[in-house]
Symmetry: C2
Subunit: 227 residues, 2 copies
C-alpha cells in the first residue's frame, strides 16, 4: 500500500531516468523516496554539500544559483512541478556546484542516491534501461528544439519574402529572388539546406510555389499569418 | 595512433553519452567504431532488424521513417552531422522500430553495442558517468526549450500590449489592463506565473513599467522590435 497521498510510483515512472523500468523495479525506488515539505525560502542544499540524491518537484518551485563573489547571485535555473534536478552531480559524486532554494511553498521528493547506485551495480540491464529512457527523452527534446528553431527560421524567410513583395497588395504575387538561394540563405543566417527545407515546407502547405528563382506566393494573407 | 583521418575520439567524446568519460575510457569505444561510407539512398537498417549499436553522423543526413500500410511512409526524424541515433533500441535490445536511409552521401560511424554493454557490465561507474552526461545534456535542452517557449510567450504578451494601445502613435504610452492579470494570462494561454515573469523581464529590460494594472510602455518602437 502507498504510505502517502502522493502517487510516488507515478511521479518516479514519469522521469526519463525511470521511464523504461518495469513497475516492480520502480518499487525499490519508491521505498527510498522521502517527501520534503519546504516553505518558500528554504535552502535544500548549499554549494559544496555532498550530492545526496535526486530531487523531484511535486509542486512548487526551486531555484539553483551561484553565490557570486560580490554578494549578488546568478540564477542558473528554475525548476517547477514534475521536474527533477541533481542527477548529474549525484552520478558523478561531486559536491553541489550551486545552491538550491525554494521560491514557493513546495513539496519535493528526495530519492537517496545509494539505492540507485546499488541497482546500477547489481544489474547492468538497469543501467541500460535508464540510459534508454534518457536517450528517448533526449531525442524528443532535440526534436522540439529543432522545430522551434525551424519555426523561427521560417518566420525569417516569410518576412523576407513579404518584404520583397513591392507589387500592389494582391492576393497572389510572384517574386524573383534577387540573388542565388545560397546568397539569400546566408543573408538570412540560414544554411542553404535549411532554406530549401523551409521552401519545401511552405510549398507543401500550398503557401508558395517555387520555380528556380521565382517564388509565387499563393496566398499573401495566409503567408503573413503563418505561425 | 589514429587509424583514420577522422577524429573518432573527438566525435565520440562530444556525444552526451560519453562526455563525462575519461579520455582513456573512450579509447575502447574508438576501437569498436567502424566507418560507414554510404551513398545517398543507402538503407542502413530496416524495421525489425536487431539493433546492432549506436550510429553517429560525421557528415550527411539520415532519415528514420515508418513504412505505412498504404505504401507511403511517415518520416519520424532527420539527423545531420554530429548527431547520433539508435541508442534507445540498442539499450533496450529491441528490433529497430523504423528504417534508416541516407538522404545524402554520408559518412557515418557505427559503434558496436557489445563494447558498450561490456563496459556497463564491468564497471558501474561507467554507467554513472554515462547517465551524468545524459542528465546534463537533458537539462540544457529543457532549458533551451523553455527559453524558446518563453520567447514566443513574450511575443504574445507584446502583441497584446501593442494592440491595447489605441492612443496616438506616441513614443511612450500607458495602458490600463482591462482585467486582472490572471484573466489576461488565461486569455493569452499563459500561466499567471509566466505572465508575471515576462512583465518582470520586460521591465528589467526597461521596455515597460508595471504599476498594478497600469503598464507604461517606455519605448513603443523598441517594444515592437523586441525579439
Amino acid at each position: 500500500m502507498s504510505r502517502s497521498k502522493i502517487d510516488l510510483h507515478g511521479m518516479l515512472s514519469n522521469l526519463p531516468l525511470f521511464r523504461e523500468l518495469a513497475p516492480n523495479e520502480i518499487n525499490d525506488f519508491v521505498a527510498a523516496t522521502r517527501e520534503v515539505r519546504a516553505e518558500r525560502g528554504t535552502v535544500l542544499f548549499r554549494k559544496g554539500d555532498p550530492a545526496s540524491g535526486l530531487w523531484i518537484i511535486v509542486y512548487g518551485q526551486v531555484k539553483l544559483s551561484f553565490p557570486s563573489p560580490n554578494g549578488t547571485e546568478k540564477v542558473l535555473q528554475i525548476f517547477g512541478a514534475g521536474q527533477s534536478f541533481g542527477e548529474a552531480v549525484m552520478f558523478l559524486e561531486r559536491p553541489a556546484p550551486v545552491y538550491a532554494e525554494t521560491l514557493a511553498d513546495s513539496l519535493i521528493l528526495h530519492l537517496n542516491k545509494q539505492t540507485i547506485f546499488d541497482a546500477l551495480a547489481q544489474d547492468p540491464t538497469f543501467a541500460r534501461r535508464m540510459l534508454a529512457g534518457m536517450s528517448m527523452r533526449l531525442h524528443q527534446l532535440v526534436q522540439d528544439v529543432e522545430s522551434y528553431s525551424l519555426r523561427s527560421a521560417a518566420q525569417r524567410v516569410i518576412g523576407y519574402l513579404l518584404q520583397c513583395d513591392h507589387g500592389p497588395s494582391a492576393q497572389q504575387t510572384t517574386i524573383t529572388l534577387p540573388a542565388t538561394k545560397n546568397v539569400i540563405a546566408s543573408r538570412l543566417s540560414l544554411t542553404p539546406e535549411t532554406l530549401s527545407r523551409i521552401f519545401a515546407q511552405l510549398a507543401h502547405e500550398e503557401l508558395i510555389e517555387v520555380n528556380g528563382r521565382d517564388i509565387m506566393i499563393l496566398d499573401v494573407a495566409k503567408l503573413q499569418a503563418y505561425q
